[in-house]
């Protein structure tokens, strides 16, 4: 299992705070996890589309797209925000 947390607009646009899922086959990195989530269709495709700027933390530390994802990890997706 992995735990995924969604923050800010992602949470609002996807209508989900967090979920626990089986680590999908072929998912070993942040990039492949994002591709898997995009594959859910609907809002997921747009929210995590190619233009989206998505910050990612694995187990409370920021990682880049090549960062690895493994069973037991907690992955957080959040957008940078800019309001002042």
């Amino acid at each position: 299992m992995i735990k995924i947390l969604y923050f800010a607009q992602f949470r609002e646009q996807l209508g989900i705070d967090s979920e626990q899922i089986q680590l999908p086959r072929h998912v070993h990195t942040v990039e492949t996890l994002l591709a898997y989530l995009r594959g859910r269709g609907g809002n997921w495709t747009e929210v995590f589309g190619a233009d989206a700027v998505v910050c990612v933390a694995v187990n409370h530390a920021m990682v880049a797209g090549q960062g690895t994802v493994a069973v037991g990890d907690e992955i957080a997706f959040f957008p940078p925000v800019t309001g002042g």
Partner: protein
């Protein structure tokens, strides 16, 4: 570490008594605040509480950078402005209100920071507090702070989300966190996304408090961490930032 030895006057000892009482502050900490030069970028939802509380806390020199005029829609979250201020310069009204509370603060007002003026303005300050409302300004401040080796205390809002981070020279920078400039349509500031007034106040005060902790060099100050705050369910998460070796601003 800067050592500050100017003794406090009697009026200062009275005024700042509650701050001095804290062992984390003391007379030497208060003297350090009185010697600090802080630039507050933006005089809006974040900038108003940041500058008000920093001025009241006794920051010696405070810069306010914004070209906006007070608008009616600002009033619910920029509580220091009055209806009579509508149409007048924010930084001038804010300066007047800070001086009402604390006449000994030296205040400088500046227009909105641009690639043309930012470097010269930032030169005069030691600590830069970013309460701006767009990614272009955030990138600009970050690049100049990295070059001039200034600490950047960055706050940002969207609806019920607040983000707070401190970027010190040598650590991960803002562009390590936000590697690509987000598309304008994808982002929601206070104008597009909406905001409740006290949400801006809460994050602005948090940013002011963290600025004081940085100036006081408290061991528990925020360092290479991003704070994500969600006001709907009152939860906060701390995320460790990481320097991007390929970062065009701070990488090798």
């Amino acid at each position: 570490m800067v050592t500050v030895s100017t003794p406090l006057g009697n009026a200062q000892l009275v005024r700042y008594a509650r701050q001095i009482l804290l062992e984390e502050v003391g007379e030497s900490g208060q003297a350090r605040l009185l010697a600090a030069k802080v630039l507050v970028v933006g005089a809006g939802g974040l900038g108003v509480p940041v500058a008000s509380y920093l001025g009241a806390a006794g920051i010696g020199m405070l810069g306010l950078a914004d070209s906006d005029l007070v608008d009616r829609t600002n009033l619910p979250r920029q509580v220091i402005y009055s209806e009579l201020d509508i149409g007048y310069s924010k930084v001038q009204r804010l300066e007047a209100r800070i001086l009402d509370n604390n006449p000994e603060v030296q205040i400088m007002t500046h227009p909105r920071l641009t690639p043309e003026n930012a470097s010269a303005v930032i030169e005069a300050y030691d600590w830069i507090v970013d309460g701006s409302d767009n990614f272009q300004t955030r990138y600009l401040l970050n690049a100049i702070c990295a070059r001039q080796k200034k600490t950047l205390i960055s706050g940002a809002l969207s609806r019920f989300t607040g983000q707070l981070a401190v970027f010190r020279p040598g650590d991960a920078c803002y562009q390590c966190l936000v590697a690509r400039l987000p598309n304008r349509d994808a982002t929601q500031g206070c104008v597009e996304g909406g905001i409740l007034g006290p949400m801006a106040g809460l994050l602005g005060c948090w940013q002011a408090l963290e600025t004081l902790k940085q100036i006081l060099a408290l061991s528990s100050r925020l360092q290479e961490e991003l704070l994500l705050f969600d006001a709907l369910n009152n939860s906060s998460h701390r995320i460790r930032m990481r320097k991007d070796q390929a970062c065009p601003v701070c990488g090798e």
